[in-house]
Each structure stands twice: as structure tokens, then as C-alpha cells.
């Protein structure tokens, strides 16, 4: 892939073009799910009641965790530009840990809801709740794996020729953050 970086007709780095095309195809995935949620919800009643059984404080905590992880991710990218490998490693590690924290809190939240009988089969709100947050959590998991690969490379000092990948991983991570920015009010605040 490194060969590809040298060649570009438009001036935009090739990896970045690829990543943005990928994100462009991800928008309709979550867009389709959110569109379905919105229209089905507006077309029938009783959703606010179901929503009130969600654990709001855990979700709020998760919102902060994810927003902060976006900050550490972008700081990792800044560290690449400033050529500060220690800071890069530290921020990648922080992002990774925050991602894991998000998943742990999410798992805890799921456990609580299922314990109260709100399983995926408990009604249409719960179908969408588990579908939307589940698909999002899978994306977080994917981001964690990517960051882990980058972190290992950074620690073994083999990242140098591929440092632009931190930026690409960041684009993806921020996209996942943006999805949560919409899921949080859609599910918890209305």
C-alpha cells in the first residue's frame, strides 16, 4: 500500500480518498436504520414510555467516554504530525481504553435491561434499541481492533512508513462518534 501513497492525480492522498468513499457508503447503513426508526416511531405510539426504562446515566457517561475518545484520537493524529512518538502511543492507548470502557458500560447497560425483562423481543422499541446500539457497538469494536493494530505497530516502532494510517483510523473513529451523537438523543432523550 505504501507504493500507492506516492501516486495521486488529484492531490488528495489515495488512502484518504478510499476512506472517505468507505464512510460515504457507511452513511446510508446507519441512515437507513435511523430512517426506519424515525418513521416507524412516528407512525405508532408508546415509544416514550419504553424509552424511559433505559438507563439514562450510563448512556450519558458513555457519551462523554466516546466524545473524549474522539479527542484523544485526534491528539494522536496531531502527535503524528508533530513527530512525537511517545505522545502518539499514549493517545492511541487512551483511545483504545476509552473504546473498551464504552463497550463495558454498554454491556453493563444491556445486562441491566435484559435483567428487567427488556429483551430484544420485548417490543418494537427494543428491537430498534438493540439493533441500533448493537450495530454501533460492532463498529466501536472494529475501531478498537484497528487502533490496537496501530498501537502495537507504534510500540514496536514499525508504524513509521504508514503513519498516515492514524489519520485514516481517526476518520473512521470520529464517524462512529458522530453516529452516537445521533443515537443518544434518538433513543434516550425523546
Amino acid at each position: 500500500m505504501s507504493r500507492s501513497e506516492s501516486l495521486t492525480m488529484t492531490g488528495i492522498p489515495t488512502g484518504k480518498v478510499g476512506m472517505w468513499w468507505f464512510l460515504a457508503s457507511e452513511i446510508p447503513v446507519f441512515g437507513g436504520l435511523i430512517a426506519s426508526y424515525v418513521v416507524v416511531r412516528l407512525g405508532s405510539g408508546g415509544w416514550s414510555d419504553a424509552s424511559s426504562h433505559l438507563n439514562f446515566s450510563l448512556a450519558l457517561a458513555n457519551t462523554f467516554v466516546l466524545l473524549t475518545s474522539s479527542l484523544t484520537m485526534v491528539l494522536a493524529f496531531a502527535a503524528v504530525e508533530e513527530k512525537k512518538p511517545r505522545r502518539l502511543q499514549a493517545n492511541l492507548l487512551l483511545t483504545l481504553l476509552l473504546g473498551l470502557t464504552f463497550l463495558m458500560i454498554k454491556g453493563f447497560e444491556y445486562a441491566g435491561e435484559i435483567g428487567h425483562g427488556f429483551t430484544p423481543g420485548a417490543g418494537i422499541f427494543w428491537s430498534f434499541y438493540y439493533g441500533m446500539t448493537g450495530l454501533h457497538a460492532l463498529h466501536v469494536l472494529g475501531g478498537i481492533v484497528v487502533n490496537l493494530v496501530l498501537l502495537v505497530a507504534a510500540l514496536r516502532d514499525t508504524l513509521r512508513p504508514n503513519e498516515h494510517r492514524v489519520e485514516l483510523a481517526g476518520l473512521y473513529w470520529h464517524f462512529v462518534d458522530i453516529v452516537w451523537i445521533f443515537l443518544f438523543p434518538l433513543l434516550y432523550l425523546t
Binding site: 452513511i27 416507524v40 466524545l67 474522539s70 479527542l71 451523537i181 432523550l189
Partner: protein, 91 residues
């Protein structure tokens, strides 16, 4: 890649994002339902744009990449619009 001179203050952006979360929670507590929903989604939109422009540094990029964000959103808008009669207005 962004040049150093242009780099946004990432920490300040983060403060804005956190502040906006509190704003939307406040809205859901203090405002009437309709106004709250409007404000909450406006805030979510602002947050998304903040992340896009600063963390994903779209504001330093070329039109092609803007198109890659806007066109899919338009397509989702078409989908929502066409789904309305069947699921919201059908009774």
C-alpha cells in the same frame, strides 16, 4: 494533511461538544416536548458538524470529500421522505 498553522484547538472543540450535551439534556428537562426535540436535534447536528469540520478536518479538504458526505445524506433524506406516507401517514 493539515498544516500546523491551520490546526484547530482540539481541546476547545471537545469543551464545546461536552457543553452541547448538557444543553440538550437541559432542553429535554425544561422545554416543552416539541421545542425540546427541535433543539436536541439541532444540537446533535451542530455537534456532528463540529466533529466533521475539526476532528475529521473537512474544513481543510477539497470539494470531492464534501460531496462524499453530502450526497449520501441527500439519499437518506430521499428515503425518509418516501417512507413517510407508508408508515407515518397511513391511518
Amino acid at each position: 494533511m493539515t498544516s500546523d498553522a491551520h490546526r484547530p484547538n482540539y481541546f476547545l472543540v471537545w469543551l464545546w461538544l461536552v457543553g452541547l450535551v448538557f444543553l440538550s439534556i437541559g432542553a429535554s428537562v425544561f422545554l416543552s416536548k416539541g421545542a425540546a426535540i427541535l433543539l436536541i436535534f439541532l444540537v446533535a447536528l451542530v455537534k456532528a458538524v463540529l466533529v466533521l469540520l475539526n476532528y475529521m478536518h473537512l474544513k481543510f479538504e477539497r470539494p470531492l470529500l464534501y460531496a462524499l458526505v453530502i450526497v449520501p445524506l441527500l439519499i437518506v433524506a430521499i428515503l425518509i421522505f418516501a417512507l413517510f406516507p407508508d408508515f407515518v401517514l397511513h391511518n
